[in-house]
Amino acid sequence: MRSSFFRILVLALLIACLGVMSIYSSTYQKEGALWQDIYKRQILWLAIGLICFLLMSQFNYRRLWDMNYLLYALAVFFLFLVFVLGIIRLGAQRWLRFAWFNFQPSEFAKLAVIIFLARYFSRKSAEDISLLSGKFGIFKGIILPFIFVSVPMFLIIEQPDLGSGLMLLLVFVSLLYLTDVRLKYIFTLMALLVLPVPFFWHFLRDYQKQRLLVFMNPNIDPLGAGYTVIQSRIAIGSGGFFGKGWLSGTQSQLYFLPESHTDFIFATFSEQWGFLGSVLLLLMYYLIVRQGFIIAQRTQDSFGRLLAYGISLLFALQVFINIAMNMGLAPVVGLPLPLMSYGGSSVLITFIALGILVNIDRRRSVF
């Protein structure tokens, strides 16, 4: 259907425009050409993203089925490169430096893992064309895919980027739930994941522990780890019903709010546009997710269905966790807000993912 193409395109572009406006509002007063131009770079990324979206909407998603091992291998390779470079440079980092931009492989890895899992669980038996996943035992149904997920997950958490790593895990569990894999296996896996959480505490880095403690009570460290959350809550709350108006947000424009153009862009937006603007923004995000679910439900192809669900869930979870973290409802993990936060990789991958989504809907009639 063409309608889903236009709906998703219009919604995504609307949100992206609001994102550019928010990035501009929080950086235009900063000194230095880099800051002055940052919104232009975002526009450029959006333009590239748009081209990718149009391309992907024409590109038959079934060919991703064939490419899935390649994509998976590429993602792991990039993540490994980041890992090795991090060791060589003796410093944590999350991106690879290319000619004139930084590429964040974890964004790419999220999409690659979803494609990989969608294919894995939608293989059909050669005899009766039924889904294999219904007959999977615990090894094939849970353990093997978990190993495939945990390799990139480990590399991402090691970067360190706990947020993106756990995002992979969440998407994996959600997708598992959508397949025909027996529920008792899924619950076994979840129990196995949840039980050792207190044990994992010791593996967390100091700043990650700090962030979790601060999430419980931001006031234990108001000038350190708690500062961002406190300022972000002030920014959102001070917006009131109508907001302070574009370019009039004191919290973000006078730099009380750190990361006001990346992870905390929602606070920047909400301060200026108020409750009204924020609820409309949430509605737009919800409509995209809903469109994704509708596409997933009406496609006949099980690969396309899982892929659409995976993309929609990834999108929804990122939006939720980012905004919840802005409001102090979730611990601070470094997750961007899709379509709004400044960052080329995130914009590009999100548009590609949405393009795939649109393409799934377009191919519906073929199968």
């Binding site: 959508l178 709350g237 001070s238 019903f241 919290q251 006078l254 301060e271 409750f275 995000y285 905004i323």
Partner: protein, 574 residues
């Protein structure tokens, strides 16, 4: 089948997640929005205060008694802390003060990098100009004029004016609701305290926006400071000077009042103080003032009470005439003493046969013992109250005392003792427990001067543009016979005009004065001296009360009065 159920759960889950986000928004932006708005404002809005000037205090002709002098404070804006040492060094060179003291002041007063820090205060104009030139080079320096209380006449009329100082706790708890803050400068005593609300300036200031480093970004608003309202007194500067000079270092008080309107023209007290010590914060001089046993901060004219002695005889005479216990032809023979009960009461002299006019003129005690005993203690008390004794006059200045007039009823209720004729005799000559303030005596004297009206004494003519004269209480008509006042007036005139009158020292003056002297015996020290009178006799323009604490006989007060009247005459005030 199972797939359909499972996917529905995701629909619900996503709606739930977005619902949680919406609830979070409602909580932050709608329910707690006001709180966060305030927090956001306090993040980025700073106030820089600018002081206005306290209202001036003027005399009745608009001459300045108290005004403000501009003093200069030096402040630095510590935005770039690295340069502070250099800047302080330069400032210390220009001001010719030790750089260490500037650094110490900077450290003590530093609050935030966006708020200017006071490093030196009260510098003189020439240095302020020099610093102003340096400011072109170093814009973080601010030379701020600050008005300070200035007393061009030093201690003149200090008790009427009062002084200013930092607000104390007791006043703060009382005045917080009226917008007073800690460290506010408020008035203590006198007009400064009573009319502080009108005199006090309204602070103005800049509200500026700062960023997360406290660096100034832009000016949000400017509210010019408002000066306080001027207070115009009924006091006349020339007369006040004459009165203070005449008192010349003797402990006591002089009140000069218009007998008809009740406007106080001069109110002098000694010992006095220099209010500027509170402005300059000279700690030793201030503590010396508070520890001085002579209580220089007390306004003796209204805040302390003394036995009125013979001046009180005017009350007894009026009461006796009103109640027809005596009349113009009643005479008493003064042998120098008389027996009241079993006690011998003596007069200060032997006067022979005395009628009422002679008795007032010679201040004969025997005549008034007799008159008092005819009246009885309660009657004397009642008439004293009619003349305004025993209660505050309602004068504007704070800390007025009411004085005290004893009565048989009071004695039995409070002391569980009887009232004897001896007490009546004592009260008749204004001794015993009887206590009055110089202002009360002035008001009483005014009633004889103006023919029977008790004026409402006041010293403030106008507050700002508002003329208070019309708002004053009308003079109270005393319901006495005209002949009563006439007789007592004649008696008061002969105090001065009779050759042996106690106030005959005033007879040589070119203006006809009438009055009454008093010599109050006190348990310790020399007697208090009183003179209460009015002049010119026919058409009184002034009522005067001179009181000297432990100043000797009434004659001493009469001499002070003579100096004042002479001087007033010389300056053509009469």
């Amino acid at each position: 089948m199972s797939f359909m159920e499972r996917k529905n759960i995701f629909n619900i889950l996503v709606i739930l997640l977005f619902g949680v986000l919406c609830a979070g928004l409602v909580n932050l932006e709608l329910l707690q929005g006001r709180k966060f708005r305030r927090l956001s404002d306090s993040n980025c809005i700073r106030l820089i205060e600018q002081a206005g000037a306290r209202g001036n205090i003027l005399d009745r002709n608009g001459q300045v008694i108290v005004d403000n002098m501009i003093s200069y404070d030096v402040l630095v804006l510590p935005q770039e802390l690295s340069r502070i040492d250099h800047v302080l060094g330069e400032v210390s060179r220009i001001l010719d003060v030790d750089a260490g003291s500037l650094k110490a002041a900077f450290k003590n007063n530093f609050f935030s990098s966006s708020i200017p820090v006071t490093i030196a205060s009260n510098i003189d104009l020439s240095k302020a100009i020099l610093l102003g030139e340096y400011k072109i080079e170093e814009p973080s320096i601010i030379v701020q004029p600050r008005p300070l209380r200035h007393y061009p006449y030093g201690p003149l009329a200090c008790h009427v004016i009062g002084y200013v100082n930092q607000i104390d706790r007791w006043r703060l708890t009382k005045l917080e609701d009226y917008g007073y803050k800690t460290k506010d400068i408020v008035g203590f005593g006198g007009v400064e305290e009573r009319y502080d609300y009108y005199l006090r300036q309204e602070e103005g200031g800049l509200s500026v926006e700062v960023n997360h480093r406290g660096k100034f970004t832009r000016v949000l608003g400017f509210e010019p400071p408002k000066n306080g309202k001027d207070i115009k007194l009924t006091m006349e500067l020339g007369l006040q000077k004459i009165a203070e000079e005449a008192l010349s270092g003797r402990k006591g008080s002089v009140v000069l009042m218009d007998p008809v309107s009740g406007e106080v023209l001069a109110m002098a007290n000694y010992p006095n103080f220099d209010p500027s010590v509170f402005v300059n914060k000279r700690a030793r001089s201030i503590s010396a003032l508070f520890n001085n046993p002579d209580a220089p901060l007390i306004n003796r004219a209204i805040s302390s009470s003394y036995p009125p002695a013979s001046v009180f005889k005017l009350v007894v005479a009026s009461a006796a005439l009103e109640l027809k216990k005596i009349n113009a032809s009643t005479t008493v023979i003064c042998k120098g003493w008389t027996m009241v009960g079993k006690r011998k009461f003596s007069c200060w002299d032997v006067h022979g046969r005395q009628d009422i006019i002679e008795a007032i003129a010679h201040s004969c005690d025997i005549f008034f013992y007799k008159a008092g005993l005819l009246l009885g203690g309660q009657n004397i008390h009642d008439y004293a109250l009619k003349f305004g004794f025993g209660k505050a006059t309602g004068f504007e200045l704070p800390y007025e005392t009411s004085g005290f007039i004893p009565s048989p009823l009071w004695r039995s209720l409070n002391k569980f003792q009887g009232w004897f004729d001896g007490d009546t005799a004592n009260l008749s000559i204004g001794q015993g427990d009887c206590l009055v303030t110089p202002l009360q005596i002035t008001v009483m004297t005014a009633a004889f001067a103006n023919g029977g009206y008790l004026p409402d004494p006041h010293i403030v003519k106008a507050v700002g543009e508002l003329d208070l004269t019309a708002r004053k209480k009308r003079s109270l008509r005393l319901p006495f016979k005209k002949s009563t006042f006439e007789l007592v007036r004649r008696g008061m005139r002969s105090v001065v005009s009779a050759p042996k009158g106690t106030g005959s020292a005033l007879s040589s003056l070119p203006v006809k004065v009438a009055g009454k002297t008093g010599t109050a015996q006190v348990s310790r020290g020399a007697t208090h001296a009183w003179f209460a009178g009015f002049f010119p006799y026919e058409k009184p323009k002034y009522v005067i009360c001179v009181f000297l604490e432990n100043g000797g006989p009434g004659h001493a007060a009469t001499l002070v009065a003579r100096r004042i009247i002479e001087e007033m005459n010389k300056q053509g005030a009469i």
